[in-house]
Structure formats: structure tokens, C-alpha cells
């Protein structure tokens, strides 16, 4: 948060409503009429929240509402009678700057921003809270102990333990691609009511969609969850349905990463079908890993290509029709090609580019902003 020496003027709400301009600066104080603020917000560059007395803490809730309800992205400034001890509170609830009406040069203002190195409450500064840190630590400890116990264990044992531990809070992710039959068959044996999340990118091969319906019926899976991209986001980012041509990363983000992030809000753990032999990027995978607060369960991690093939045969699992056509890994139609003999199994995905993964198995923190 910036400490301003000078207070910048702003219009009161009545005046602002009469001015027919964009990028205006508007002052709020006392009891706020939220319907008027909401209507005005798109034209506002800065809201200045005035504190008549430091003890009048309404401004903190006003700022919180601007950020949380109105989703105001512009500048929120504080002015008026404030004391340096309030600096940390201002910055936490979502203020960008403060222009105190006395002693803005007081070094206590700057110092106040760094008084505390930890925070308890989630707030609009998005600092990582004690709650988050402890929860992550608890989950990481669980993951570590599971890996210690189950590294190298048979797939069905890993799956059985995971579905027991996370009962009601675990789902399977499936692309209904060339190898999907294995993990889905295992799930159908262990816990057939486990939700199976299918990211319907609206860019799948028709054969994949048909296979999805055929295979789930064959295996008796009762809970297939079709996850579509957000319609508003799709209209905004991909209005011409050509995003995949311009920017494959953005397309994966719109159609896979963000929809999965949203869907995962309801789950503690997610079963994947990833295997080490798929690619160099998957070589170091353990059976359990923590990714953005969700535990990924990779029961097939040790499997090689031959095991996959013989499992299909042994259990008489229907195959994806495109597998016989030379597609060992199947994604969306614009970005999937057949693979030649001896090539990497995922070589046909985003062929001809550096891209090897869509991003759903990456941490949000590693994503390019």
C-alpha cells in the first residue's frame, strides 16, 4: 500500500452520477447506498473512502464490500483521520493507498505495514493465512505418509485406500482416451459410484464422446460428470471458435484448466490415470501428490505399456476406436495426431510445438500469468 502525502480530490456520489465521464474518482463515506455504487462502479477509476475519525471503522467494511461484492478492480484509497496502526488493516482489506490527514511522513506508517509476519484471516490482500498454511501442512504430511506406505503398491490397493480415506470427497478424472479403460475398470471394481469427471472441451472427437457413453455403461459406472467450459468465458475468449489456432495454451486454460479448478472445489482428492512411461515430465511422479490443495492419486504410476495392453485383454475392456487408427494418446481433435511406430506415446499431442501437457496437472503457481 502506498502512503500518499497529498490527498487527491474525488467527487461525491451525487456529483459523480451527474457527470457523464469514465475513469472518475468518487468519494464514499458513512452509510453507503450499494445499489448506486454498483451502478456507478464501471465508470470509476478510484474510490476514495473517507474516515471521519480513526475510530469509525466503517471504511474497512466498505472497502471489503467494494472488493468482494462489487468486484471493483480499480484503485481504492483511504483518506481522513487515520492512525499508523491502521496501515496493516487498510492494506489487508483491499486499500491500494492512504492519504492520512495528519503526519503522513510519520515512519510509523511504513513500519505498520510489516508489524506482523503472519495473518489469521483470509482477506483481500490474498496473503496466505495460518488456516491455509496449516491445512496444506496437514495434507502434505498425509501425502508423505501415504507415499511412504504405498509407493510401489498394486494399483487396486492404492485405489482402495484412497477411496476409503477420502470417501465422498474423491473423484476420478478421465479423458476417455486410449488408456482410460484401465483406471476406470479399476474404479468400477473398487468404488463404482465414484464421480468420473470428464472435461468436455467441446473439441473432442465424436468417437471419444461415443466411447465415453459405451465404456461407462459397460463398466457400470454410475456417476459421470460432464464438465463444460464456462459459457461467458468461452464467449469472451473464444468467440470465433478458433482460439486453438491462435493460442493453444489459452484454449487449454479456458476449456480444461479453469473448468477443472472450479469442479475440484468440492473434492479433497482426484484419481488420475497418469503413468511414468508417458513422458519425461511424468518420470518422477509418486502415487500421491499435493497440487494446489487437492491430493492427486496416481494408482497406475508404475505401469508400463505392456501392462496396460494385457489389462485390456485380460478384462475384455472395449477399446477406443481410434487406438487402432494409430492414436495412442487422444485429446481434442485440433491438437491430436496419430503417432508413428517407436515414437513417444504422447508425441501426437500438440505435435510440432513445445507444449506437452495441457496444464491440468500443474500447480496454479507455476502457470504463466
Amino acid at each position: 500500500m502506498r502512503i500518499d502525502l497529498e490527498h487527491r480530490p474525488a467527487l461525491d456520489l451525487d456529483t459523480a452520477e451527474g457527470v457523464n465521464e469514465a475513469n472518475i474518482h468518487v468519494r464514499l463515506e458513512g452509510s453507503v447506498d450499494w445499489e448506486r455504487v454498483r451502478a456507478l462502479a464501471p465508470r470509476v477509476e478510484r474510490f476514495d473512502i473517507h474516515f471521519p475519525k480513526f475510530a469509525d471503522g466503517r471504511g474497512f467494511s466498505i472497502a471489503a464490500r467494494l472488493r468482494e461484492d462489487i468486484k471493483f478492480q480499480g484503485e481504492v484509497s483511504a483518506s481522513g483521520h487515520l492512525i499508523p496502526d491502521q496501515a496493516r488493516m487498510l492494506t489487508r482489506v483491499g486499500f491500494d493507498s492512504v492519504a492520512p490527514n495528519s503526519n503522513p511522513e510519520d515512519p510509523a506508517w511504513k513500519k505498520g505495514l510489516t508489524t506482523f509476519s503472519e495473518v489469521y484471516q483470509p482477506s483481500n490482500d490474498r496473503r496466505s493465512t495460518a488456516l491455509e498454511k496449516r491445512t496444506l501442512a496437514a495434507k502434505q504430511a498425509l501425502v508423505d505418509s501415504l507415499n511412504k506406505r504405498l509407493r510401489g503398491a498394486p494399483a487396486d490397493e492404492i485405489l482402495r485406500e484412497a477411496t476409503r480415506l477420502f470417501k465422498g470427497r474423491i473423484a476420478t478424472l478421465s479423458s476417455f482416451g486410449a488408456e482410460a479403460g484401465v483406471s476406470l475398470h479399476l474404479v468400477s471394481q473398487v468404488a463404482p459410484d465414484t464421480p468420473v469427471l470428464f472435461l468436455d472441451t467441446e473439441r473432442h472427437f465424436d468417437k471419444t464422446l461415443k466411447y465415453r457413453d459405451q465404456l461407462s455403461e459397460h463398466l457400470g459406472l454410475t456417476n459421470i460428470v460432464n464438465i463444460l467450459p464456462d459459457a461467458d468465458e468461452a464467449a469472451e475468449d473464444d468467440s470465433d471458435n478458433r482460439l486453438w489456432q491462435r493460442d493453444t495454451d489459452a484454449c487449454c486454460d479456458l476449456r480444461k484448466v479453469r473448468p477443472l479448478d472450479r469442479a475440484l472445489k468440492g473434492y479433497d482428492a482426484l484419481i488420475t490415470g497418469r503413468k511414468r512411461f508417458h513422458s519425461a515430465t511424468r518420470m518422477s511422479l509418486p502415487p500421491f501428490e499435493l497440487l494446489d490443495g487437492v491430493i492427486r492419486v496416481n494408482p497406475l504410476i508404475d505401469w508400463d505399456r505392456d501392462q496396460v495392453l494385457s489389462y485390456f485383454e485380460e478384462h475384455d475392456i472395449p477399446e477406443h476406436p481410434m487406438k487402432a487408427e494409430g492414436y495412442p494418446s487422444i485429446g481434442c481433435w485440433p491438437c491430436t495426431q496419430p503417432v508413428a511406430e517407436g515414437e513417444d506415446i504422447r508425441a501426437g499431442r500438440w505435435a510440432g510445438s513445445e507444449k506437452t501437457e495441457c496444464g491440468i496437472h500443474f500447480s496454479a503457481k507455476s502457470k504463466v500469468a
Binding site: 474497512f60 464490500r65 496493516r88 495473518v119 489469521y120 488456516l131 496437514a138 472445489k265
Partner: protein
């Protein structure tokens, strides 16, 4: 008991460092008293009649033996050899020097304690049932939730400058031993049909000059949404609570002026926006905090009450409480020996209680809102030894729950708000009622005294209440009857004209005698009063 992790410890240490700097600036004159006031006020430091007063938080009234020991050492080293336990389960020191307060806070930090938010217009210490974790009738131990509230409320960025102070109380049983209906937010832990924990939520209760009982906002809020729900209440209050008049600034006035239905609707609308967000309590954190609060294992050593001395049996009748685990009991230590200052304990007594807890009581103690101490977990077989140890420290008063177990504020002897003295009145009443034997004859009966309308002595919610008022420079006392702080919470009604300090002991004796004369088999005071009305009491009191 909850143990600080690195995060908790860091925050408390950083607050001490900040306050040390603020005190230094005050002492060098860099900060004026006016500028210092808002800083000290969020850290429990008040300027009283004679000196600064320091109020130390005892979160939900739970103390370890080591913490109790430290409180005694502070009383010995920095005060005049005693501490005063308060109605909000805290402790106050009336004579610390300002220059020593940072060292006191350092010492507290060393045992995982602090004075954060024990004053100021912020969320104060959360209080609960002093028998939490031991009471047989509780749904679950309420203290994990109190601790989660403590952390959520500590240095809250949005709610540190509320219209007025804000108090939350939590109970976990039908019986209300935390007076939730006279708190800004009252929470009752319960289970739904599926057995999942949740809270019945009340708001808008309070005492002071406008006593009000809380209204119910929601019959069941699932436990993981606790912080989202109370955030919704606080946000509505922070935005709309009155700031034009200090005496109308508590949430009770907002609830009343908005109307309970409209207020509830506003809270529910705010909650709908917050539910499912970052405030949702993760199962991992609930489990982590809950694991600190586990009941003791079954005790197999036997105990025969009848084989004990008569003095022990009289004491035990008032002081030993049933425990949820076989072979255990809870012990109430009355800090109201006849004729002494209610709630005060000397450093030596504090050490003795710490040592008893260490030796017999799983290292744990509680402070009650009646300003007494509880040893929550004592093996029944050790009760005689505990009694002897209490006797040796002069802590064996056997009047817990009787009319001489008086709640009293410090009154005019210490407080610059008071109109009248409370402590000498409490002493005179307690002498009179114990000399006549009326206290034991009357049985369970509550009597509370406040030295002014701020009602720190909880006079509104006592069966017998006394309020000190100033009439042209003279101290008078207004008598109220029929208040209650339990699950049948009620505000007492004024009986008649104010009484002088000299008249008070006789008037109280008259009230108690009238009760004894009229009660029918085992009736409580308020049941008798409801049946016969105020008149018989009025006649008895004003006949003299």
C-alpha cells in the same frame, strides 16, 4: 489444552515488540496520552483512578498450571501481590507501572498468553462453560470452536474499529453456563438429525444501561460455516451499527432498531455471499484444534464420600461437580470467602491453585464468569487431598453457588466510571447472610453488584441485583429481582426506590427471608417470584 504453534507464537511476540515500542514512545513523550490511548486500548491497558490497569486474556477461561503460575508471578513481581479474576473469565492487575507492562507481556508470551483485544471496540475474549470438556451434558467440547474464533478475531483487519466492544459466548449444552443470551453473539453447539455439529446462533444480547436478551438468528449453521456466519453478523453491524451515541452503539440497539426479522435477513444475505468461500473451516484445521482437547481416561481408584470428614462433606456439597468420565470430578474454588473482595486471589493462592492443578488436576484450571476458579479434572480419589491443599491456602470457602458467592465489579474503589462502591457492599452482605446462616438455608441463589449502569457486575441477570447510583453526591443502590443468566435468561425488575449503603444488608436479608418463607418444595428464586410477584418482597424491604 491448545498449544501455540510457530504462527501463534510469532504473532504474539510481534505484538509485544510493537507495544514495547509504543510504550517507549509514550514514556519519552514522543506520543501524547491522547495519541497513546487508542494504541493501549487495543492491548488491555486502561487508565484507572489511581494507575494503569492491565487486563490479561484467558481465552475461554482455560489455563494451564504453568500459565496460572505465571499469573501469580506477575501479581507478586509487578502488582501488589494479588490479581482480580473478572466476569469475562480474564484477570486484571490494578497496579502495574506502565514501564513494566512490556515485560509483563513478554512473560505472558512465554507461556502462550497475551492481552490482545481485552479492551477497545473490537472482538473481545470468547467465553464459554467453565466445565467444558468435563460436563456430562455437553454435545461436544465447545473450546475448539472458541479457539478458532480467537484466531479469526485476533488482529481482524475489518473488525478492529467497531461501533462498540463485541463479546461472543459459546455453550455446548441445553443448560447455559456462559450466559449466551446477554452476549453480542451467543452460540449453542448442537447436532442436526444426521449428527453433524453446528450452531444455534443468537445476537443482540447485552447488559449495560439497556439490558436486552439476544434474539435467535438461525437455528442451525453447520460448524464449518461458523466463521462465515459470524463474519456476516460483524459486517452488517460494522456498517450499520450506530456511531452517533456511545450508549446506543452496541449491536443490541441495531437489532432492536432494525427489527429482529429485518436484521436476520440482512445477516443471511451477507452469509449467502460468504458461504463456501475462504472462511469455510477446513476439516484438517478443525481436527488439528480439536485434538488438543481430549477428555481424561477412566479413573479406576475408588472413593467413598461418607468416609470423609463433615467439613469435607459440607465443602463438597457446594464445590464438587459431576464429571463426564467415570471416576473424575470437577472442583469449584470459591474466590468469595465471607467478607473478602470477590474475585481477588493473592499471588500465594494463585501459586497454590497452579500446584494443585499440576499435582492432581491434569495441569488444567478454568476461570468462571462468577469470578471463581474451577479444577475441571480431579480424580475422585484425590478429592480429600485437594481439599486439604485448598484449606492450607485458605481457598476452601464452601459457598459456591450460594447467595454469598457474589459477582461484583471493582466499583468506586478502583474504577473511574463507578457511581458507588461495590466491594464494601458485597462484604457487608456476605457477612450478614453467613452470620445468620441464611445463605446455606436459601441454597442456590445469585446476587450481583454493579457500581454503575455499565453493569460490569452483571446485576441485571442476578436473582438479586444491586446497582450503584449517584444521587446528589450520595451513593444509593437500586434493587432488582428476577434476573437470570442461565437457559431461562431474564432481566431483573426494579423493586422500588434506591437504598442507602447502610440499608442494603438488611434489605437483602429481607429478600432472602421472604424467598425462604414462600418457596415451595425445591423451587428456584425466580419460580417463587413468578408465582407470588414482587409485592411480598417490596413490602418486606420497605417495611424497615
Amino acid at each position: 489444552m491448545y498449544q501455540y504453534d510457530e504462527i501463534d507464537e510469532t504473532l504474539v511476540r510481534e505484538r509485544v515488540a510493537e507495544f514495547r515500542d509504543q510504550v517507549k514512545r509514550r514514556i519519552t513523550g514522543e506520543l501524547s496520552e491522547d495519541a497513546f490511548k487508542p494504541l493501549r486500548l487495543q492491548n488491555g491497558v486502561y487508565l484507572q483512578l489511581h494507575a494503569y490497569m492491565l487486563r490479561v486474556a484467558i481465552p475461554y477461561g482455560t489455563l494451564s498450571a504453568d500459565q496460572m503460575q505465571a499469573l501469580g508471578e506477575i501479581a507478586r513481581d509487578y502488582d501488589r501481590g494479588y490479581g482480580h479474576f473478572t466476569t469475562r473469565q480474564n484477570i486484571q492487575y490494578n497496579w502495574p507501572r506502565l514501564v513494566d507492562i512490556p515485560d509483563i507481556l513478554d512473560k505472558l508470551a512465554g507461556v502462550g498468553m497475551h492481552a490482545i483485544q481485552t479492551s477497545g471496540n473490537c472482538v473481545r475474549n470468547t467465553t464459554t462453560d467453565p466445565y467444558a470438556g468435563a460436563a456430562a451434558d455437553e454435545v461436544a467440547d465447545p473450546r475448539p470452536w472458541c479457539e478458532l474464533i480467537r484466531q479469526w478475531s485476533t488482529f481482524h483487519p475489518e473488525f478492529s474499529f467497531l461501533p462498540r466492544k463485541f463479546k461472543i459466548a459459546v455453550v455446548a449444552s441445553k443448560a447455559d453456563r456462559a450466559a449466551i443470551q446477554v452476549h453480542d453473539i451467543g452460540l449453542r453447539l448442537k447436532t442436526n438429525a444426521a449428527g453433524a455439529l453446528g450452531f444455534e446462533v443468537f445476537a443482540g444480547g447485552g447488559q449495560g444501561r439497556t439490558p436486552r436478551l439476544a434474539v435467535k438468528l438461525n437455528d442451525y449453521v453447520i460448524a464449518e460455516d461458523l466463521l462465515a456466519y459470524i463474519t456476516a453478523i460483524l459486517r452488517v453491524y460494522n456498517l450499520a451499527g450506530r456511531r452517533d451515541n456511545k450508549y446506543k452503539a452496541r449491536i443490541k440497539i441495531l437489532v432492536e432498531e432494525t427489527g429482529p426479522e429485518a436484521f436476520t435477513a440482512e445477516v443471511e444475505a451477507e452469509f449467502a455471499k460468504l458461504q463456501g468461500g475462504d472462511l469455510t473451516l477446513p476439516a484438517e484445521e478443525i481436527a488439528r484444534v480439536s485434538n488438543f482437547f481430549t477428555p481424561p481416561p477412566v479413573e479406576t481408584r475408588g472413593f467413598d464420600l461418607k468416609a470423609q470428614s463433615q467439613a469435607f462433606q459440607i465443602w463438597a456439597e457446594r464445590s464438587v461437580k459431576a464429571h463426564k468420565t467415570e471416576g473424575w470430578a470437577s472442583v469449584l474454588i470459591s474466590l468469595k470467602p465471607v467478607g473478602k473482595v470477590p474475585g481477588d486471589a493473592t499471588a500465594e493462592q494463585i501459586f497454590a491453585m497452579a500446584e494443585i492443578a499440576r499435582q492432581y488436576g491434569l495441569n488444567e484450571l478454568r476461570v468462571t464468569k462468577e469470578q471463581n476458579i474451577v479444577l475441571p479434572h480431579i480424580p475422585q480419589a484425590d478429592l480429600p487431598a485437594v481439599y486439604e491443599a485448598l484449606r492450607a491456602a485458605n481457598l476452601h470457602a464452601d459457598n459456591g453457588g450460594l447467595v454469598t458467592d457474589i459477582i461484583s465489579c471493582p466499583g468506586l474503589d478502583y474504577c473511574n466510571l463507578a457511581n458507588a462502591r461495590s466491594i464494601p457492599i458485597a462484604q457487608a452482605i456476605s457477612n450478614r447472610l453467613s452470620e445468620t446462616g441464611l445463605d446455606r438455608e436459601a441454597g442456590e441463589l445469585t446476587l450481583n453488584i454493579s457500581g454503575c449502569i455499565n453493569a460490569c457486575g452483571h446485576h441485571h441477570i442476578a436473582n438479586i441485583g444491586l446497582l450503584g447510583v449517584d444521587k446528589r453526591g450520595e451513593e444509593f443502590y437500586q434493587l432488582t429481582l428476577g434476573g437470570a443468566a442461565n437457559e431461562n435468561a431474564a432481566i431483573g425488575r426494579i423493586v422500588g426506590p434506591g437504598l442507602s449503603g447502610e440499608q442494603v444488608p438488611q434489605a437483602i436479608e429481607d429478600v432472602v427471608r421472604t424467598f425462604i418463607a414462600h418457596r415451595q418444595d425445591g423451587e428456584s428464586f425466580n419460580t417463587t417470584l413468578a408465582r407470588i410477584g414482587l409485592d411480598p418482597f417490596k413490602e418486606a424491604v420497605y417495611a424497615h
